[in-house]
């Protein structure tokens, strides 16, 4: 069983007290560029997920507590949660270091000036 602590209101609960909102940090291309979205970009946004076997960043909601969204860093194998951070924040360096290499590549790519800034 997953035991989660809400970083917003501090409440501790089991999985059913929260709601998983899937993978975090998915930027919606149409937000930046509503007219020129390629089919590939829209497909990636809709369907393509990292789905790593390892340490992952997810969005969770404190469903039966304060109702707020937050990010959690969870190992998809062991279910261990390593930490939380705000819904508008990037993962702290310590958590990013722990995360699956897919995530390091994700934020490396977002840093490049050519890439559109990923909004969470």
């Amino acid at each position: 069983m997953l035991v989660i602590t809400c970083p917003v209101c501090g409440v501790e609960g089991e999985e059913a007290d929260f709601h998983c909102g899937g993978e975090g940090h998915i930027a919606r291309p149409a937000t930046e560029n509503p007219d020129g979205i390629s089919d590939d970009a829209q497909r990636d946004y809709m369907f393509m997920r990292k789905n790593p076997k390892g340490v992952h960043f997810e969005r969770w909601r404190c469903d039966r507590g304060c109702g707020k969204w937050f990010h959690a860093c969870r190992d998809t194998v062991s279910m261990q949660i390593f930490g939380y951070y705000g819904i508008t924040q990037r993962p702290p360096a310590a958590l990013l270091k722990k995360a699956d290499p897919l995530w390091q590549a994700h934020f490396e790519a977002a840093k490049k000036p050519s890439a559109k800034k990923a909004k969470s």
Partner: protein, 204 residues
Amino acid sequence: MSEALIITPLYDREAPGGLAIIMTEVVDLGMIDLRGLPKDKKFMDAAKAALGIALPTAPRTSAGMGDIVCLWMSPDQWLITCPRKAVGGLLAKLNASLEGIFSLAVDMSDARTIIRLEGDRVRETLMKGSSIDFTQSGYEAGTVRRMLFGEIAAMVHVVSEKPDVFHLMVFRSYAHHAWDWIEATAMKGSEVEFLSSAEAPPVV
């Protein structure tokens, strides 16, 4: 003019005999949902001016003075309870005070129903329907807790202790579900004796 008739969600329910707690529907409390930003000093001051109480900002707490009680629901949301007949006046006062400030105050009196639970077995009964240990510290009088209760969204307000009085708030459409759940789990004979000092049965 004809008088508006208020039919509460549980008007057709009465607690049966043989319960370990006393349960009744609270019919005379109105509720106002108030939203605003706690960091906005103007909002906090305006709310205080209208309510006569500062909004509680610590999670799961409440603040009350006389008839008006403010329950913390979220960092930017409060549920104000007051006598049902005073809702209109209080809401007008709030809206006047909050004029021009990023906020929202709405009469939600008919969105939820409040079930009043009283007695030494209340904590134990509620624990049968949720993942929360109400015997822990942190559930003293004044505490507010939103939770999953009997598979539905609910909120509990510890009104007083010794004897325990809890208000369980559920959405109107779940009123009968919540009522029936408590009726069944509060039956005398269904106590789990978790809170008693009775000795554990021998291991055979």
